[in-house]
């Protein structure tokens, strides 16, 4: 009795109180943090619908040349009302139209150049952008060979922000990925649980889990340099970087995830079920296929969805090996551009609070909503079902 008192003092010390409450606070903080991210992403999407004024815009400028305009020897032209930096060393290559005309026409991009001649240039310069609507994000915005086309061209005189092609790209490449990864990981998990001897199981499981820790950029690089040439020869594809190769890359990422989840699901199936099956004379395969797998089915579905969700949000592999061309085609050997890769490659140079910026956040929100709901379904419906079944919650 005395000893127990020593181990478990009844009175809660200040230290314990402190620890307990800080753990609680951290847990709540992480929840708040997730909500905060949600809020931020949705809030920034707003700028697509109401962009700030005077944003940089890629536009066509047409006006007559004046003698005060400046022309560089490589054909660049600056109008005199544009704010330009000083030169160092002063005025070596800069020439004023009238002073040094012959020198300025070396490169015939805009040729011939004369004062008063109307010229047309494309330039990033400030202007007010026309806000877009939800309809602009999904309607066909171009016609190619008589067919309506869904184009993603954010840097253009008429920017085209159709996100359908990007959503399609994400789904296409993740579906290919999960179709390849799912059977492999389910069979591997069944093997480790039902067939493998104990010593082998103790090797396989950690090795596959280490694979989950492999940086995705390394997998992308491996696919780019090694697998791409191999698959191009094997399937004789027109494009070296395509959705199928992307799917292969993604499957390398999701196999360990799906494997671990399926293995866990199979593991919590009570031992007496499989033992009873074996005792009744079923062989190992019958036990695995007819008893274990059906019993763990909700967990297997959850693993499928979570693997899909993981593939859906993967950025680096998609960026490196899917070719990043935003087209909607049924051929699995065509290139695709995924939502995550688009955000990854365009966010760095986009102008703050312009339409393009807002649209990238809309893509982020869509991505967020889709992966969140997939994971929520997996977690709260399927996994809960499984746990309820065998843990008696």
């Amino acid at each position: 009795m005395k000893n127990i008192r020593k181990i478990l003092p009844k009175k809660i010390s200040i230290f314990e109180f402190f620890v307990e409450n800080s753990i609680k606070a951290i847990a709540l903080l992480s929840l708040a943090f997730i909500l905060g991210i949600f809020y931020f992403v949705f809030q920034e999407s707003y700028w697509a619908f109401k962009p700030e004024k005077n944003k940089l815009k890629y536009q066509n400028i047409q006006k007559p040349l004046k003698h005060t305009d400046e022309i560089y020897s490589n054909g660049e032209i600056y109008f005199d009302d544009e704010l330009r930096p000083e030169k160092y060393p002063p005025d070596t290559n800069r020439s004023n139209l009238l002073l040094n005309r012959s020198d300025s026409v070396k490169i015939n991009i805009i040729n011939p150049i004369d004062e008063g001649k109307k010229i047309s240039l494309h330039r990033y310069s400030s202007g007010n952008e026309k806000a877009i609507s939800f309809w602009d994000l999904i309607k066909a915005n171009d016609i190619i060979e008589g067919e309506p086309a869904y184009i993603w061209q954010p840097i253009s005189v008429e920017p085209k922000y159709n996100i359908l092609s990007l959503i399609f790209g994400s789904f296409k490449v993740s579906l290919i990925g999960i179709i390849i990864a799912f059977p492999i990981s389910v069979l591997a998990a069944l093997f480790t649980i039902a067939f493998a001897p104990k010593w082998l199981r103790e090797i396989i499981k950690p090795v596959v889990e280490i694979l989950a820790g492999l940086p995705t950029v390394v997998i992308g690089f491996f696919c780019l340099t090694v697998l791409s040439g191999y698959f191009e020869e094997l399937f004789n594809t027109q494009l070296r970087l395509n959705a199928f190769l992307g799917g292969i890359g993604l499957s390398i990422v999701i196999v360990p995830i799906v494997y671990t989840l399926v293995e866990d699901a199979l593991y919590i199936v009570p031992k007496h079920l499989s033992e009873a099956s074996l005792a009744l004379g079923a062989n190992r395969w019958q036990t695995a296929y007819k008893v274990l797998l059906p019993a763990a089915l909700p967990g297997v579905f959850a693993a499928l969805l979570m693997g899909f969700g993981r593939a859906f949000g993967e950025t680096m592999i998609a960026l490196m090996i899917t070719g990043n061309a935003a087209v909607i085609t049924a051929n699995i050997f065509d290139s695709v551009r995924t939502m995550a890769a688009t955000i990854g490659s365009e966010m760095a140079e986009v102008e703050y609070r312009s339409i393009h910026y807002g649209v990238l956040f809309i893509i982020g929100s869509v991505l967020f909503i889709i992966t969140f709901s997939i994971n929520a379904i997996a977690e709260f419906i399927f996994r809960k079902k499984l746990l309820n079944k065998y843990r008696g919650y």
């Binding site: 160092y88 494309h122 005189v157 490659s345």
Partner: protein, 268 residues
């Protein structure tokens, strides 16, 4: 033991502090990182008491760093935009200083097995617009043209669009890759591919003549080759002291020799 360790660290800090009496940071264009590092190396060899730190990230990121004051010199493969100058104006009261430090030729690459060796500017435009989709239309084999381009955050992407496509859109089938090196790598492995990028990266690919002009050093420098651009360095103020010395050295024949070695072209 711990105390000894701390003393050692302090000692190292003091030593490095004494060793480099002056420091320059340079940030910006990925196209220019290699060139910029070579300049810095040579300059530090000649002036052992100077430390020059070079990093990439992209032209836009470099200019932002210049505006925020986190870099002394910014490398850029595109001219500074007017509203970036305006930001400099608001913050420092200067319009910034532009230095043309090298010329970069934009080279059109195809695979070594490709029979086509010349394209006109209008053919090039039609190919990247998606109007010409087969190599036989420009005198090659009967095969689909595989288009490679840079990502749309790149200065080269915008330059190509301005000069070659005349501001019109790229074909939607154009594959966008991050970095010139990956474009070159893709073209070198893909028999029917076409891509574009700097002169510095031309391993295992064939350079096309444009309007029958070969992309040689002389043609690019004289402006005969139709697709070339300046590379810039930007400062906040007119250079003084060490930075002036560094930039004068870059513009000197010795500095410009390094430009040639790095696959770019001297400005004079």
């Amino acid at each position: 033991m711990k105390a000894k360790f701390i003393v050692l660290i302090l000692f190292l800090i003091v030593i490095t502090g004494f060793k480099y009496s002056e420091k320059i940071t340079i940030k910006g264009s990925d196209t220019m990182v290699f060139l910029s590092q070579k300049w810095a190396e040579k300059f530090m060899q000649k002036n052992p008491d100077v430390l020059i730190q070079v990093s990439g990230g992209g032209s836009g990121i470099g200019i932002t760093a210049l505006i925020n004051g986190t870099t002394d010199i910014c490398n850029s493969s595109r001219p500074i935009k007017t509203n970036e100058v305006r930001k400099l104006m608001e913050k420092y009261g200067t319009t910034g200083v532009e230095i043309n430090c090298a010329i970069d030729g934009i080279i059109i690459y195809v695979n070594e097995k490709n029979g086509v060796s010349n394209l006109s500017l209008s053919q090039l435009k039609d190919i990247y617009r998606g109007k010409i989709t087969n190599w036989k239309e420009v005198g090659g084999k009967n095969a689909r043209i595989v288009l490679y381009s840079r990502e749309n955050n790149s200065g080269t992407y915008v330059y190509f669009k301005d000069i070659i496509l005349n501001g019109e859109d790229y074909s939607p089938f154009c594959q966008n890759l991050p970095g010139t090196a990956s474009v070159v790598n893709a073209v070198s492995k893909d028999e029917h591919a076409i891509g574009y990028g700097g002169f510095g990266y031309t391993k295992n690919v064939k350079m096309l003549k444009i309007n029958n002009v070969e992309p040689t050093i002389d043609n690019i420098q004289s402006g005969l080759y139709p697709i070339s651009r300046y590379l810039y360095m930007y400062l906040r103020n007119q250079p003084t002291g060490l930075i002036k010395k560094y930039i004068d050295w870059i513009l000197s024949p010795e500095g410009q020799q390094i430009v040639r070695e790095s696959g770019f072209f001297p400005i004079k």
